[in-house]
Symmetry: C2
Subunit: 109 residues, 2 copies
DNA sequence: CTCTGACATCGACATACGTCGATATCTTGC
DNA sequence: GCAAGATATCGACGTATGTCGATGTCAGAG
């Protein structure tokens, strides 16, 4: 992203992705899910550690889901969430195209 | 960030950083500044390519500045902006601590 | 000192967002 | 089918955010 100016479309798409990360509750949710040994968590185990109401947690999970950052799989009564690395890497890479012009060593003379 | 659950403080700090990136206009501004050969741009050259009013551009530049993503240096009549790689790397790395549990290969048995 | 031009700030507006309580939906066990 | 529990959706509320026109501030030219 930082190599050439982005057009409105790409910028909007990226911005939508970052917007999903622009909330403390969602970042904590994401880290809670990612920190699981099993790689997945029951949604019921996310409400109490987050300290928010169940509807609020459900709302944030939806935002993360729609951003493609997590997926929820229903197994019986519960829904198990796990992180999808793809979108995360995509956002990370968009910040990483930081070419020579950004480095402390201008490279060019 | 994805190795262990973050506390409220870290989550809030990170969220503030991502919030600065969660807008198409700011992403385009950032990419416009980063794409400069000279490594810096006059603010006056950012208004027209962005297609927004001068106050709006100034506002977004302020947000980027307060997020530590760019710096503006006054030289005479004009202010020259350049990207600060530090914060960018910090945000990128927070998305990169994606340990074994996120990879397609669970590693742990 | 005054004028001009670049940039920042202010005030106002519409919209988007986070949060919660109440309620709906769905799944299981009886 | 019915009751119980887990999630999701809805409606409402306060607050934050993007945008602009008008205005303020500051540096250089004359």
């Amino acid at each position: 992203m930082l190599a050439a100016p982005l057009d409105d479309v790409d910028a909007a798409a990226l911005a939508k992705g970052f917007a999903a990360l622009a909330d403390p509750a969602r970042l904590r949710l994401l880290s809670l899910i990612a920190a699981q040994e099993a790689g997945e968590v029951c949604a019921c185990d996310l409400v109490e550690p987050l300290g928010k109401s169940q509807p609020t947690v459900s709302h944030h999970l939806k935002v993360l889901r729609e951003a493609g950052l997590v997926v929820g799989e229903r197994r019986g009564t519960w829904v198990w969430y796990r992180v999808v690395p793809t979108m995360l890497e995509q956002l990370r890479d968009s910040l990483a195209a930081t070419g020579s012009r950004l480095a402390p060593h201008p490279t060019a003379r």
